[in-house]
């Protein structure tokens, strides 16, 4: 028998007489426990609070229900403007992140042999803090940088840290998302985003944007409402995407030529005098310049470039004009306008300009400028005062003067690391290596950085290149600051902790930022708790923390779009800008003109295009076992190939093929379909994880960005993710 004297010190702490309890009340056998547990199986989980999904940038709020200390159920909060009470697949899957077997549980430091080993938090802070101080002392604070995806506390706390350090180099993922779009829109309408009053629209055209494959449940609800109310919905996309279930018409445009299509439609509208002359007269500048340029962009000209019949271009231009102002072209997001082509930003400007011709801005059924989100008032407590403003501009701002400042190119930053101008970089839940540009190049640059730190929940492609990895808690395990955001009806949301911290050696990002600040000698700017700050912020809106914890989200319908009211354009001219002289700073014409794509396929080449599928947020969620199982069940790593092109290459549906170019090669199965433009291959984004630590994602599918060069568009600095050509051959052929 085991001799008790050998047990020495045990780890279970017991009350006096605990051993007697075994005999007195009886040991709880597993069988008895299972039976009791089964009896409780029908017990409903209890409400634990309002959280907000961490599965993408939308942060849709939901009510969390817990049973046995574990998240058991989520129910969407209807008042959240993006989630509208309906968590998406990613929301459900990502809710299990707290329990992931692949979570990071301790601070890690890269060893000399390239592995990682656990270190204490004290050691991590000491070493990182010392290095940051040394970099600042010898090279100045601009030799540091931050890349983060912007997630409330993370946003506020890490930006505060870097501001306190005197560093302006704070970047986001826009370079591989919507940098060109937001920047192009800024130059036309004075803000980086716009929406549409879909529910009241008579006609909406989507250019390369599929709500059913994309991010927000609210968008799906809105396009459904448009459909239900009889709107005519047009999808311009090389691929017959998942949103076609809502649409009336599909135009399989040659990818990268959407700008030509819009210019030709604009030509038709102006040629036939269908533009909104009153709006143009009262609210705009530069129309005459653009009207002159448009003369050359005939539908016949565009047909040769886009593959869309001139007659269709004519018809659709007139359809939109005749239904104006309850008609618009949707703003797009990532594909086409966001970051895909050299002409992406100009395509965004063209969309805004076309909507200007329609005169549909802030009209029922038209394009809408989002009203400002409720802003927190001034906080009187001196502890909350911001650190001294940094006078320097972030690196890249000078080179890309017309880019939205908050989104200046993170790829430009990486070149600065390569050139030694930036010596240290901190990431916050940003898988840059996985998706911002060519992973091999980014990995090489990042591993050469003198200091690299990643604050993460999982060992992403980026984390594994860093020298230090600091484990964040999952979003379910922490409180957050309140955040308000602009939408058709602005919204205020608060995420609350709903489950206990699972891994005791993980820390919430706001705590990490505060403790790093202390290690760097700027801790005085963090002399408050998160709750104190949250309370103070909410008080300025007449709310309390207790109230917001109960409500979760509040919408502000009285602050929604004021249809028909005069618009205060945020542009330098104070007007809608068909032409903007600032564009000449980057070699563009003041008005929007045709720019052909950087590359064009010829012979047996294909343009590589990609996009989301509704079950994944790029590489963010691919390690989730439930979501990746859907990938496996439905063979969702397949590329799409046009049937006629496949026949030429002797490829049949389901074949294994090799996709290759000078940068990469990989094997995958193919879906052969009529529903794809013949000049391109469509590859789902987010797969091809190169981190063996993410055991569910590793080796599944192909890495889209591995086929794309490390490059930036010359105007806005975006990654040009679809300016890449590949060839395809059948494996074994």
């Amino acid at each position: 028998m085991l001799d008790a004297k050998l047990s020495r010190r045990g780890f279970l702490a017991g009350a006096a007489g605990a051993a007697a309890a075994v005999g007195a009340s009886g040991y709880l056998s597993f069988g008895a426990w299972e039976k009791a547990h089964a009896d409780e199986a029908d017990d409903e989980p209890r409400f634990a609070g309002h959280s907000a999904c961490g599965g993408c940038y939308s942060k849709c709020a939901y009510s969390a229900y817990v049973k046995n200390g574990r998240l058991g159920k989520i129910v969407g909060d209807k008042d959240h403007a993006f989630g509208v009470g309906k968590p998406c697949a990613r929301g459900y899957g990502w809710s299990q992140m707290a329990y992931s077997a692949n979570r990071l549980t301790d601070p890690l430091k890269r060893t000399e042999d390239g592995d990682f080993e656990v270190i204490s938090w004290d050691q991590a802070y000491q070493e990182i803090g010392d290095k940051i101080k040394e970099i600042i002392a010898t090279s100045g604070p601009q030799a540091l940088s931050l890349v983060e995806t912007g997630s409330v506390s993370m946003d506020f706390y890490v930006q505060r840290l870097f501001t306190a350090l005197g560093c302006a180099n704070m970047y986001r993922h826009g370079v591989a998302c919507n940098l060109a779009r937001n920047s192009g829109l800024l130059q036309s309408i004075g803000t980086g985003d716009f929406g549409a009053d879909y529910a009241n629209a008579k006609a909406v055209m989507f250019i390369g944007r599929s709500f059913a494959d994309g991010i927000r449940p609210a968008y799906v609800a809105e396009v459904k409402a448009a459909r239900d109310n009889g709107a005519y919905l047009i999808m311009v996309d090389p691929r017959y995407n998942s949103s076609m279930g809502f649409c009336d018409e599909w135009l399989p445009i040659n990818p990268g030529t959407d700008l030509a299509f819009i210019l030709a439609m604009a030509h038709v509208v102006v040629r036939d005098g269908l533009e909104d002359k009153e709006f143009i007269e009262s609210d705009t500048v530069g129309f005459d310049i653009w009207a002159e340029s448009l003369k050359q962009y005939t539908p016949e000209w565009a047909e040769k470039i886009t593959g869309i019949a001139a007659a269709d271009i004519e018809r659709l231009a007139k359809l939109l004009a005749e239904n104006a102002p309850a008609a618009s072209i949707d703003s797009g997001w990532r594909a086409v306008t966001g970051c895909s082509y050299i002409n992406s930003g100009e395509t965004a400007r063209a969309i805004a300009a076309f909507n200007g011709l329609l005169g549909c801005w802030n009209k029922p059924g038209g394009a809408i400028l989002f009203p400002a989100a409720p802003a927190f008032g001034k906080l009187e407590d001196p502890r909350f005062a911001a650190p001294p403003a940094v006078k320097d501009k972030k690196l890249g701002a000078k080179e890309y003067p017309v880019s939205l400042y908050s989104m200046v190119s993170a790829n430009f930053l990486m070149e600065q690391i390569q050139e030694g101008n930036v010596r240290g970089i901190v990431f916050c839940q940003s898988n840059m290596v996985g998706g911002y540009s060519n992973p091999k190049v980014l990995e090489e640059i990042l591993t050469s950085a003198e200091l690299s730190v990643d604050i993460e929940v999982q060992m992403t492609d980026t984390a594994r290149c860093c020298k230090y990895v600091l484990p964040d808690t999952s979003f379910l395990e922490r409180d957050d600051l309140p955040w308000s955001f602009a939408y058709a009806v602005p919204c205020l949301t608060l995420r609350s902790q709903v489950v206990d911290v699972l891994h005791p050696n993980t820390r919430p990002v706001h705590q990490i930022a505060k403790e790093l600040a202390e290690a760097c000698g700027v801790g005085q700017y963090f002399d408050f708790t998160l709750d104190e700050l949250a309370e103070a912020q909410l008080n300025t809106l007449g709310l309390t923390l207790t109230e917001m914890r109960e409500k979760g989200s509040i919408s502000y319908p009285d602050k929604g779009v004021d249809y028909g009211a005069p618009i205060k354009w945020g542009t330098a001219s104070g007007k809608f800008q068909f032409a903007n002289d600032d564009m000449t700073k980057v070699g563009l014409t003041p008005d929007v003109n045709w720019i052909e794509p950087l590359v064009m396929p010829s012979g047996d080449e294909f343009r590589l295009i990609g996009g989301k599928q509704p079950i994944h947020s790029q590489s963010w969620t691919t390690d989730n076992p439930e979501l990746i199982q859907i990938t496996h069940d439905y063979d969702l790593t397949r590329i799409w190939m046009n049937a006629a092109r496949a026949a030429e290459l002797g490829i049949a549906d389901g074949d294994e093929v090799e996709v290759y170019n000078d940068l990469n090669t990989g094997k995958v199965r193919v879906k052969v379909t009529e529903r794809l433009n013949p000049t391109c291959i469509w590859m789902p984004s987010g797969y091809g994880c190169n981190s063996p630590d993410l055991t569910n994602a590793y080796g599944v599918g192909l890495s889209f960005m591995s086929f794309v060069p490390f490059q930036r568009d010359p105007y806005y600095g975006a990654t040009m993710s679809q300016e890449a050509l590949v060839k395809v051959r059948k494996v074994g052929a």
């Binding site: 047990s7 780890f11 005999g23």
Partner: protein, 185 residues
């Protein structure tokens, strides 16, 4: 004592436990608790030379942590079979709930730093020892149900790209003890 192989203990504690006399006593005890077999004998031979404190902490810092290719945290929830099928590799499942509830029913406290994994191997071993001191029959029942995951854990240890032979041997001997106890029930 076996639990200490997987638990964070101080240098002083580890060196006291692995001094020649103490360690020999342990090996002798384990010999007595198990039936002769090739598996047991091979494991005991490997256990003859325990790792130094540096070797132990070095191994733990690379393998008894989550999120790495070589991660091998000895937590039952990560290895136990469940009805969830392919999604059964996750923390804080039924084994954890049972251990938590069992500890509570006995007036025992799970250390705060391990609240997330009350089904950590070192806690399960501690529980076995505790139960045995009170009622050996209960301890046998506990051991019979709680250590069915060990073969999968051994497979994991063997798969990591590191010399995990000591820890494999600990588990192999433990499984021999469990087998012996089962036969005595």
């Amino acid at each position: 004592m076996l639990s200490w192989c997987f638990a964070p203990v101080s240098r002083k504690e580890w060196e006291a436990a692995t001094d020649v006399d103490a360690w020999s006593e342990l090996l002798g005890f384990l010999t007595g608790e198990t039936k002769p077999s090739a598996r047991r004998d091979a494991a005991l031979r490997r256990l003859a030379v325990p790792p130094t404190y540096e070797e132990k902490t070095g191994f733990a810092s690379r393998h008894f942590t989550g999120g790495l290719p070589g991660s091998a945290l000895p937590v039952e929830s990560l290895y136990a079979q469940s009805e969830a099928g392919p999604f059964d590799q996750a923390y804080f499942r039924e084994p954890a709930w049972y251990m938590r509830d069992l500890a509570e029913s006995l007036g025992l406290e799970i250390p705060a730093s391990f609240a997330a994994y009350p089904d950590h191997l070192f806690l399960e071993l501690d529980m076995a020892v505790f139960l045995h001191a009170a009622n050996p029959e209960d301890a046998r029942d506990f051991v019979a149900h709680r250590f069915t995951w060990l073969p999968r854990y051994v497979a994991r240890l063997k798969s990591i790209n590191a010399d995990a032979s000591f820890y494999v041997a600990v588990i192999e001997v433990l499984m021999c003890v469990v087998d012996a106890w089962r036969e005595e029930r």
